[in-house]
Amino acid sequence: MTGKEIREAEILQEACLTLEQLCAAAALERDWLIRHVEEGLIPVAGTVVAEWRFTTVHLRRAKRMHEIERTYDAEPELAGLVADMLEELDDLRALLRRHGLA
């Protein structure tokens, strides 16, 4: 790779990642992700695995939950609760930034 060549980037649609792509992107095991989606801990539309499409919001949630489970040997439900709170924190911080308060 010389770094001279210019690559055209393509914007993917909002919910664009397949199960395999999300696993690869977040370095997750397929079974782990399927289990968490089926238990409703990572909410995704669609009833069969092939229909599932993920966004970067799912990506961040899955990475966070996986890290919490690994670091603290946490139950998936507890990791889900922590992820819920961190997402709430993200939203509130974004709100503060929009109002020039952070």
């Binding site: 790779m1 770094g3 001279k4 060549e5 210019i6 690559r7 055209e8 980037a9 393509e10 914007i11 993917l12 909002e14 664009c16 990642l17 395999e20 792509q21 696993c23 690869a24 992107a25 977040a26 370095a27 997750l28 095991e29 397929r30 966004t55 970067t56 919001v57 990506l59 966070r64 690994r70 670091t71 603290y72 961190l86 924190l89 974004a94 930034r97 929009r98 109002h99 020039g100």
Partner: protein, 315 residues
């Protein structure tokens, strides 16, 4: 190569029990958690703590690390003693190749070549993911960016080394935060080259660098619009510089603080384009000069204004 003292990183003694190591790790993982930590270098420290734990929590890796001895005298480069790793095999299941991409050269030199045999690399796909930070202006105009990615790569003998890849990428206009852009065929070829597998795609998640004035939300831009009291009271047209050019914003007469103004279609270009939202903030002018004081005093006399009229009167 710089020696890494993993015991010092976790603040435990060399002979510490596995439970104590886990406890120390969890304590530090909480302290440096990038989402909540107030420490300035939390992300960097977290990576160092993860690296130390990846070694000390794994009995095989810990044993191998202990064989290496301790740090060389200051100013001297570290060299592993000959034959230190005879007969050792690392399976490395705990941490993935992508975690290891953030680890030090010391780690990749000592442990990289063995863990390639384990299950950690190439979890069934050769797609690769990274986050790319763009300027908000890039979303309006499109941009060419040079990206440096640190990727683990397997050589012909199955050894893993971290390689820095530089890519020139053309990013189309209209990109929004959280979107993913795909560079076909530019993913990792982990284990793939040997088996003749096709390299996957490179997936880049887009984030914007924080901007002092503009706060993007999806296609829309939010910003605070400071106005003088007379602009709010009488109405005004104020010029606002946006990434897409200067915009004349009409402030309606009688605008109240906190009022939100929307300009349609001037957010991030897209189909349909986003909007720009202004939060009106009234800035109180100082009464610094005698003339300014006089003006305030005459306003006080002339205006029938009580900012606390809603409070009612004490009985």
């Amino acid at each position: 190569m710089e020696f890494k003292d993993y015991y010092a990183e976790l603040g435990v003694a060399r002979g510490a029990a596995a439970d104590d190591i886990k406890k120390a790790y969890r304590k530090l993982a909480r302290k440096y958690h990038p989402d909540v930590s107030k420490e300035p270098d939390a992300g960097k420290r977290m990576a160092a703590v993860n690296e130390a734990y990846a070694v000390l929590a794994d009995p095989e890796k810990r044993a191998a690390y202990d064989q290496l001895g301790s740090a060389p005298p200051p100013g001297q480069d570290f060299r592993p003693p000959p034959g230190w790793d005879d007969g050792m095999e690392f399976s490395g299941r705990e941490f993935s190749g992508r975690d290891a991409a953030g680890f030090s050269d010391f780690f990749s030199e000592i442990f990289g070549r063995r863990s390639a045999q384990g299950s950690s690399f190439g979890a069934g796909s050769n797609d690769h993911h990274a986050r790319v930070l763009l300027d908000l202006e890039d979303a309006y105009t499109g941009a060419e960016r040079q990206l440096s990615l640190r990727v683990p790569k397997v050589d012909g003998e199955g050894r893993v080394a971290l390689e820095t890849r530089t890519l020139n990428v053309k990013i189309p206009a209209g990109i929004r935060e959280g979107q993913v852009i795909r560079l076909a065929g530019q993913g990792s070829a982990m284990g793939g080259e040997m088996q003749g597998a096709k390299p996957g795609d490179l997936l880049l998640e887009v984030a914007f660098k924080p901007h002092a004035r503009f706060h993007p939300q999806g296609r829309d831009l939010h910003m605070t619009l400071p106005v003088a009291p007379w602009e709010a009271a009488l109405g005004a047209i104020v010029p606002v510089d946006l990434p897409g050019g200067t915009l004349k914003v009409r402030i309606p007469a009688g605008a109240k603080p906190g009022k939100q103004l929307r300009i349609r279609g001037k957010g991030i270009p897209s189909s349909p384009p986003g909007d720009v939202y202004f939060d009106v903030r009234i800035v109180v002018p100082p009464a610094a000069t005698p003339k300014e004081k006089e003006l305030y005093e005459s306003l006080q006399k002339e205006a029938n204004f009580d900012p606390r009229k809603d409070w009612g009167r004490a009985p």
